[in-house]
Subunit: 305 residues, 4 copies
């Protein structure tokens, strides 16, 4: 749900949106499964004059499972209708079903900070897709513990903040949080080679997506391609997941692999894998920004594009 | 919609079903898009005490498009509730929205006839998956214009009918129709090397799924692997589609490909492709039998498993 | 029964071969890399009047690496020429380069024992491909610790031996070895749910290929699909590897994956994965039987088909 | 400017190479198949003190087929040894077997001109991989019939030549040829929306690689994604091929596909396909530049990386 104090900036942000249709919104719902939820959603939206464009629903278990739903709909004069829409959803859905729900104006792109170290392929792929208008996001800053990619980033017209991480990591995290808080809806770790502290995760208080350079849970931690070479695997992969306090253990959003042969060196595996990493991360970010991903426990429901 | 005169046999067919849960049904809907359809479905099902397990909805175009929906739900005492359920759907959905809709009892497997010539791989894969309980279908007969696969089929406990096709194809088709009419809900052409006449399609009056041994629209017609070898393609594929009167032009349900190198002969391409054919056909048949496929014009909407 | 005297039976075995051309043989070579090896192979084969049909060569590291090579060639009157061929290879290659080399008559299919427990999909896929002539092997027996699949196997005309494994596993292994020794060139574990002892591996003294139901090294050991469901992975996979004394740690021959969504239950993951398992195992067995796989340390070089 | 005298510039070009090892060269061979060719290659290289690092050989047909081979080898003091190497290959291979052969110094990257119109994704991917050192090529110029991408290209430090194509196409082609002749070893059409004349192909006299936005031979010509949308295919693809005088009919180097669902519009198919296009083109260019691709008739033999 978009809180009241965000609404002031919404007008401006709307103009930067990457929408196609006008008046499109999305409703995501998560609650304990019970009969009648779909009907309640339908009623709430029909009352608001909404025309449903797409609807996906999934229940993890017919007995005692979790109900999840994503609905995309169009409302004439959406901005004017927004308060009524929120009220209708709260009345029909929020209260009777104790549902967690969020309404998203599709014209307002999520504000994203990208964290990066020295490796550029994931970062550049995101920035390049962003520039093409392929991703429903606004990259509002790139933060790095190395200065190397400053020029590259700024060529895209995006602020680059160099915040070195020394022996006292908490100082760097404090500086990062000052940049982030209130300014971003999502943090993307595009090969950022530092582990974020629990405190940081808590204070940043936005979803964080990381790209890991292996098919998790294989090859957790560093040097994944070297481990893959030593084990002689025939596919290398990449995994995009939400960051939690356990390293490489958060809910997986997307994974993919590429076939590799015996002839590839570790360096070549790394390059081959880089292609998968950037695709997997781009897909995960795109899906998150289109509100397609719902976390259920330590897994995700991803409603397909 | 299951017609009244089917209900007599339903009781028996139900016992052969391949269901997991009891009381599960599916509703598929197709109509011109208008606001309020999802709410109407929700109301109809809520009135019947249904708990929605899964719901997918797709509209081909927000302006003047076609609305499609598949809903899976559970109703206590489904058989007793069936008439009320039908009435509720007709009242809320059928009439006000002029919708085409069908209710399917998930416990009643579709009755399938498989047509085959001499090549066994697609047939055996279907029969083998059927025996494992992977496909929600009852194979009630196999029909062939060659006697070669009789023993193989009968070892699965399934009737095999040998109907040679001579110079007068209409005689063979008449014999086929006598076996089929009233007895099957779906015909699967598992590498059946005869073209069915328009008359046959009309009189059989059930969906017919064909597997074509190429990635359509490439390599229409016969000798697809030889054409692929000559063209030097790097992938060979297969396409499962509904049969229409235009050869290899019907709505595509599923396609897939496999990578092939220069070293493969046409015979090896054929074997490599056979693996893709059987997978693609099995998936298409599975999806059809689970009511996941909705035809819209000459294309399909496939709600994913 | 197949006699222990290999040379005596070759004549008979040859007639059962699955070759296309006549007089085709394969030479595999492995040795420390040094200049001149390829020329030596070329000389040895040219002296024997061989026409090389295909040749693949790979060196793991230009400095101090391992040289591997697979050569397919045709010799007029191969059987008569065999002793000269062996002598030429030994002279030009074996001695000067201290190479490990093997000559294989492509017309003599490898003799294979398949071990299975209760799950049939990998077994049936191998038997079915075998019957089609897709795999250059002769399945001489199926061994199982359960009686369930006896009828199925014998319908293919292949002996089925039921050897239950009780608390004293060594007794069962002794009985297995009596069936195997001298009679088989390869053992395939097609979802065989027993761990073979080190003694068995040593005494059997033939390569053993296992199919593991995950993308190794993820999900080692039992219940791989349940672990995959719990972790929420977006792909499930399978791995064919040579068996060594460390469980699921042997050299990987082939791996593949299939995309899975959040909606699949563990049972459905298991079925989806079964398709990958049988493909991966079939490919690994095919490649082994065509002498395409060369073990180097704990990895494999696989020369592609 | 790069002089037309190739031998003179080799010394300079060598320093710009993207090699790993020193003294590495490649030999590609194509001729009518006869016994003894591999031995001849081995002899020629052994005489030159070469250590073979990798060797791939393929014969299209054991009877009357075409022999193809790619050999990578290392020679101490390669530059000094080059004339002897050429002589040895000519003596042992060229003359007795009437073979077409080429020797390539792996340290000398191919000089590439990229042709582009307005669409940037293939171009940028090539330039970005080039900058990373992933492709063994030197992009010496970008030629476009539109000015749009000038700044982008020049940011990579690469000359951009804007040559508009008016009603008299031959004038533009004449201007292009003046830039190209003597200066490039390869032309890459990275979504260049003009058809090159037969005269141009003849006078340019270097290989030309084009990326086509479909899985050929499906959807030849323009508007491939729209045709794909209309046909309702479940995969969209891309094809990299050598340009010949017949439109989209040249030898295919590489193809790939991506799965698409019913929900994607033509614009979304185009974006999804763009990812495949850039990967397919990058792979094809990489393989060509590493001398992995040998044309045989209207097909290619591609020795894998």
């Amino acid at each position: 749900m978009i809180s009241a104090d965000d609404s002031a900036t919404d007008a401006q942000r709307r103009t930067r949106g990457v929408n196609g249709l006008s008046g499109v919104a999305r409703l995501t719902v998560q609650c304990a499964d019970r009969p009648g939820i779909v009907a309640a959603v339908g009623r709430a939206l029909a009352e608001s004059g909404a025309n449903i464009l797409a609807l996906d629903q999934f229940t993890t278990d017919p007995k005692g499972g979790t109900f999840t739903q994503r609905t995309v709909f169009q409302v004439p004069a959406l901005q004017a209708a927004w308060p009524d829409l929120e009220a209708a959803v709260a009345t029909h859905l929020g209260k009777p079903f104790e549902a967690h729900w969020q309404l998203h104006d599709a014209a307002i792109a999520k504000r994203v900070a990208i964290f990066v170290s020295k490796t550029d392929h994931c970062l550049l792929d995101l920035l390049w897709r962003h520039r093409r208008g392929d991703l429903a996001m606004n990259v509002v800053m790139v933060v790095s513990n190395h200065p190397d990619l400053a020029e590259e980033v700024r060529a895209f017209g995006i602020p680059f903040f160099y915040l070195p991480v020394g022996s006292d990591k908490s100082a760097a995290e404090k500086a990062q949080l000052e940049l982030l808080i209130g300014n971003v809806d999502l943090i993307v770790l595009a090969r950022y080679m530092q582990i974020l502290s629990e405190d940081f995760l808590e204070e940043a208080d936005v979803p964080i997506i990381n790209i890991h350079h292996s098919f998790l849970p294989a090859f957790i931690g560093a040097a994944a391609y070297q481990k893959a070479k030593e084990r002689g695997v025939k596919l290398v992969g990449a995994t995009a997941h939400y960051v939690t306090k356990e390293l490489d253990q958060g809910p997986i959003i997307e994974q993919d692999v590429v076939r590799v042969g015996h002839a590839l060196s570790t360096a070549q595996l790394t390059k081959r894998g880089a292609d998968v990493e950037r695709q997997v991360l781009s897909r995960a970010v795109a899906w998150h920004c289109e509100d397609r991903v719902i976390r259920v426990g330590n897994t995700t429901v991803v409603f397909p594009a």
